[in-house]
Amino acid sequence: MEEIKQAMALYKKVLVAGCGTCVTVCWAGGEKEVGILASQLRLARSAEGSEIVTLEAIVERQCEKEMVAELKDKVTEVEAVLSLACGSGVQVMAELFEDKPVFPAVNTTFIGMPEKEGLWVEMCGACGDCFLDRTGGICPIVRCAKGLLNGPCGGTRKGGKCEIDPDKDCAWVLVYRRLEKQGRLDLMRQYYTPKNFRAVKRPGRVQATKA
């Protein structure tokens, strides 16, 4: 919560966006949790003697662009988005609304997925210590071939492609472009110390504490 409070400190009007699917089922980011988190933010802010306006929204599935696109009007109104979706939902939100900073409100720890049919692209490594707030909503841990926290490496090809696979985008070029759009390039200059990849002990197991 402290992390969320600090991330929101700069903003006066934010959208708290939940997701109606997986995170609702695991009591982390559904309608109820959106209401509670928004209320906590308002209470915390008023205790500090200032104010924060929160819009609240739930989309059926925050990992689907069509569904997230419905939030356009609300996102236009706010300065930043606080997403209670999994890392995948946060990234879809960040991709659709590139000019707004999107902050993760949950630390996605592991993702269960349907086993067959179709093709999915990995967006979130479920590392348990979300990094998306510093990278403009693009996860370098899985989208960079080397999983670099301080990129790009020296191997970026012309056109922003990866040296390991020319068909793939260099995640750090994407991060740079996204942050540039948001005027937050100072984040690129920061040095991030190695991450604790043991935040989640595998296999993941979460015991809900909500009453």
Binding site: K32, G35, L43, A44, A47
Partner: protein
């Protein structure tokens, strides 16, 4: 803050108790505002938070005695939710605005008054401590 205490009263216990307190002419703090609910188990965390957001100094959740809940486990759920709400408040560093649960039976007007006085005392103490 408007100094009010919001009391969510179960209509099977605390509400009749409050009614009886009125009939007997018992005094309780004038800052108390009663909200009648079908069961203490109906009161959700968000209701308690909203009450505080709107300026209440404290929230009381009053339900049936253990084992006597009209809806079997409503009072147990309510207690858990009060505990959860308390944890959420501590998380954002808000203290001195208590959320407390009391159990009482419909024929216990004195206990209703005692609960109201007790929470008033808690608020007063925490204000003085600051």
């Amino acid at each position: 803050m408007n100094g009010r205490i919001i009391a969510f009263c179960c209509e099977h216990s605390a509400y009749p108790a409050a009614d009886l307190a009125g009939k007997l002419g018992l005094h309780y703090p004038e800052t108390l505002r009663i909200i009648r609910v079908p069961c203490a188990g109906r009161v959700d965390v968000i209701h308690m938070l909203r009450a505080l957001e709107k300026g209440a100094s404290a929230v009381l959740v009053l339900g049936c005695e253990d084992g006597a809940c009209h809806h079997i486990t409503g009072n147990i759920r309510a207690r858990e939710r009060v505990k959860h709400c308390d944890m959420l408040l501590r998380e954002i560093g808000i203290d001195g605005r208590p959320v407390v649960m009391f159990n009482l039976s419909p024929n216990a007007p004195h206990k209703f008054v005692k609960a109201a006085n007790e929470i008033t005392k808690i608020i007063k103490e925490s204000r003085e401590a600051r």
